[in-house]
């Protein structure tokens, strides 16, 4: 779960990380009022969960009321990489001389948290990582001890941070690790961490991703989740149904159990000349109602022309799957899109007996099921 910038900034500020003065606004007058209170110049920043907001026109620096109105009008309501902007953060514009990057994440290869510091902040840090990996200092942390103060200092000095701010940057990094650890962070980043001409550091952006699996012990953050979620209508629906779902460009709807098997089904659709419309994993042990929800989900995507159901039961049972498919399809006078079903594994024979074969096409193998669904879907409309 990714927090919005304004939420992450609040969390960071509460922990003692210096952040610019800011206010959230959702209409033009609100933006102007906030800017007057903070004092010009201010930055007007779209609050949506996508990177590259600046380049896409979602962040504007304004000097006076006219410019503030203009920026608010152009940003509020805009479509930013598929996300509707309905709120902006109005923020004190910081006069800086340098931009740093600091971040904490889990290094899955090492199985340990890692702290990262770079003097090449303020830019696309992923590009820096690829083109000039030496420009990012990395320090692995033993999770049972936490970050020792010397480790924060080491990362800061290894990165070549100027002596005049090294102590403050170390302190920000230590605080960031503590937050990451306390809040079950997946990533916690500040890019850029601005350095002012007075040698002060201030977090001009804030990124905080929370481990979804740990939300049960982070009630305050779980409350933020509703505000933080967003995205398009289908993705919101997937959130409500609690599916792992990704919308894609094609027209073959795909439902399966287990991420690896669903991805394999996508790959086979492509292999046989079709285009996947989505990735939908119902997870392990899905009962009939959940299966029906999955079909409802995929049917509500207008781009879908056919659906393939690929279930290999282990913990999931074929009879439950069949009941769910029947339940979802029997409510229609006419099935909106052809559905191909392939059931294997636990209780597949019971499932085949229950499944209403007047409503679906049954195939025995994965290959046959995918080819049939691709055939039904036909060409993708341009």
């Amino acid at each position: 779960m990714k927090l919005h910038e304004y939420q992450a900034k609040q969390v960071f500020a509460d922990a003692g990380v210096p952040t610019p003065e800011s206010q959230l606004a959702d209409d033009v007058d609100g933006v102007v009022a906030a800017a007057e209170e903070i004092g010009y110049p201010v930055a007007v920043k779209a609050q949506v969960q996508v990177g590259g907001r600046g380049k896409a026109g979602g962040i504007k620096l304004v000097e006076d009321e006219d410019e503030a109105r203009e920026a608010a009008e152009s940003i509020l309501g805009m479509d930013l990489k598929g996300y509707h902007v309905d709120r902006v953060l109005v923020e004190e514009a910081v006069d800086f001389v340098n931009e740093l990057y600091v971040g904490i994440t889990m290094d899955r290869g090492e199985g340990k948290p890692v702290a990262m510091v770079s003097t090449k902040g303020g830019v696309n840090i992923e590009e820096v990582a690829e083109e000039d990996p030496e420009a990012i200092a990395r320090e692995h942390i033993d999770p049972s001890f936490g970050m020792h103060p010397y480790q924060a200092r080491k990362a800061v000095y290894d990165a070549g941070v100027d002596q005049s701010v090294a102590r403050d940057v170390s302190s920000v990094l230590t605080t960031l690790y503590q937050l990451w650890d306390d809040k079950d962070g997946a990533d916690a980043e500040i890019n850029p961490l601005m350095v002012t001409s007075d040698d002060e550091v201030i977090a001009a952006d804030a990124v905080m991703n929370i481990d979804e699996d740990a939300l049960f012990r982070q009630p305050e953050l779980a409350e933020m989740e509703e505000e933080a979620s967003g995205g398009d209508e289908l993705e919101q629906k997937a959130d409500e149904y609690d599916f792992d779902y990704v919308r894609l460009e094609g027209n073959v709807g795909i439902i399966g159990n287990g991420a690896g098997l669903v991805m394999t089904t996508l790959d086979l659709v492509d292999h046989y000349g079709g285009k996947p419309a989505n990735f939908l994993d119902v997870g392990g042990g899905a009962k009939a109602a959940r299966i029906a929800n999955a079909l409802d989900m995929v049917f509500s995507d207008d781009n879908v022309d056919s659906v393939v159901f690929n279930i290999f039961g282990g913990i999931t049972r074929g009879d439950e799957v069949a009941r769910g498919i029947n339940e979802a399809l029997e409510q229609f006078d006419e099935i909106p899109k052809p559905v191909v079903v392939r059931l294997a594994g636990t209780n597949w024979e019971e499932g085949m007996e229950i499944l209403n074969e007047d409503l679906v096409t049954v195939e025995q193998t994965l290959e046959d099921a995918v080819q049939r669904a691709v055939e039904y879907a036909g060409e993708v409309e341009a």
């Binding site: 079950d184 991805m263 996508l266």
Partner: protein, 290 residues
């Protein structure tokens, strides 16, 4: 023959009084697994399906000589349950639980380096030596005895590939689901090493997926140490660049790795053919076995 598990393995099921724990303990016993105990705090003295339940894993080890645990404990408590297994000097701990917080697993991972216990999982289907024993939730009936070792990050994909093998009469020595979480115990390299050292394993299937660099590391290991022929499969070639991938993660690994292309080309460079479909993986194995 087998690696890691056989019909002498003495299993304690952590969480045996829960719905999943009870159901799968019974399924395991039905398959022939030697389940000797359950461990559930506060339920000591009870019996589940004829199996004695203890409050702690330590007791199960003392009283029943358990040497292996299978963990069906809810995510909030599963990290602690794994620690308990590691601190009970078991040979093997298999964590089925899905959704354990990653930070808990980082601490477990640290502990693993200090003990002799091998961990499989979490978020995995377990492992099976066909005809002898299974640990976890794999559907026993699709497996058959034979000479192919299988290691996979994905549960249901394991079933799919095994189905393709078994339907051609190709059986398995042991199939190991290592789990798809960011932090796991036994990884590809560990499993490949076990199969390489097993005289009864004549070919190996390795099923990977996008994300992380485990497959690339496995390819390097195969190149250097593995003589047994290996066929691969990588799920997610058509998956879009992950919306879920937080960007700090991408900085750690650089964005050139972790893709299906990088994994497939690493495996190909190590002499491992990678099938476009599960059927093609079975084709390669058939060729290896002649």
């Amino acid at each position: 023959m087998s690696v890691l598990v056989d019909d002498d393995t003495r299993v304690v099921v952590q969480g045996i009084t829960g719905g999943e724990g009870k159901f799968h303990a019974e399924q395991m016993m039905e398959y022939g697994t030697n389940v000797v105990a359950g461990a559930v705090p506060g339920k000591g003295g009870q019996e589940v399906s004829g199996v004695p339940v203890y409050d702690t894993v330590h007791e199960a080890v003392e009283e029943e000589n358990a040497d292996t645990s299978v963990i069906f404990v809810p995510p909030a408590f599963a990290g602690d349950a794994i620690f308990e297994s590691l601190d009970s000097d078991l040979d093997l701990a298999v964590a089925i639980t899905e959704g354990i917080p990653t930070q808990d697993m980082a601490r477990v991972n640290k502990r693993l380096t200090e003990t002799d216990t091998r961990l499989i999982g979490p978020n995995c289907p377990g492992l099976i030596t066909p005809g002898e024993a299974k640990l976890g939730i794999l559907p026993g009936n699709i497996f058959s005895e034979g000479n192919v070792g299988l290691v996979s990050r994905s549960g249901t994909l394991t079933y799919q590939v095994v189905d393709n093998l078994t339907s051609r009469g190709i059986g398995q020595t042991t199939a190991i689901g290592i789990g798809g979480d960011p932090i796991i115990g036994t990884d590809f390299v560990d499993a490949l090493e076990l199969f390489e050292d097993d005289p009864d394993t004549d070919a190996i299937v390795m099923c990977g997926e996008i994300g992380g660099e485990d497959e690339e590391e496995a390819a390097a290991f195969i190149d250097d140490y593995v003589d047994t022929p290996v066929a691969g499969f990588i799920a997610g070639r058509t998956a879009p660049p992950g919306k879920r991938m937080g960007h700090a993660g991408a900085i750690v690994s650089g964005s050139g790795t972790g893709t299906a292309e990088s994994k497939i080309s690493a495996l190909n460079d190590a002499g491992v053919p990678v099938g476009d479909t599960p059927e093609e993986v079975a084709d390669h194995i058939e060729e290896f076995l002649g």
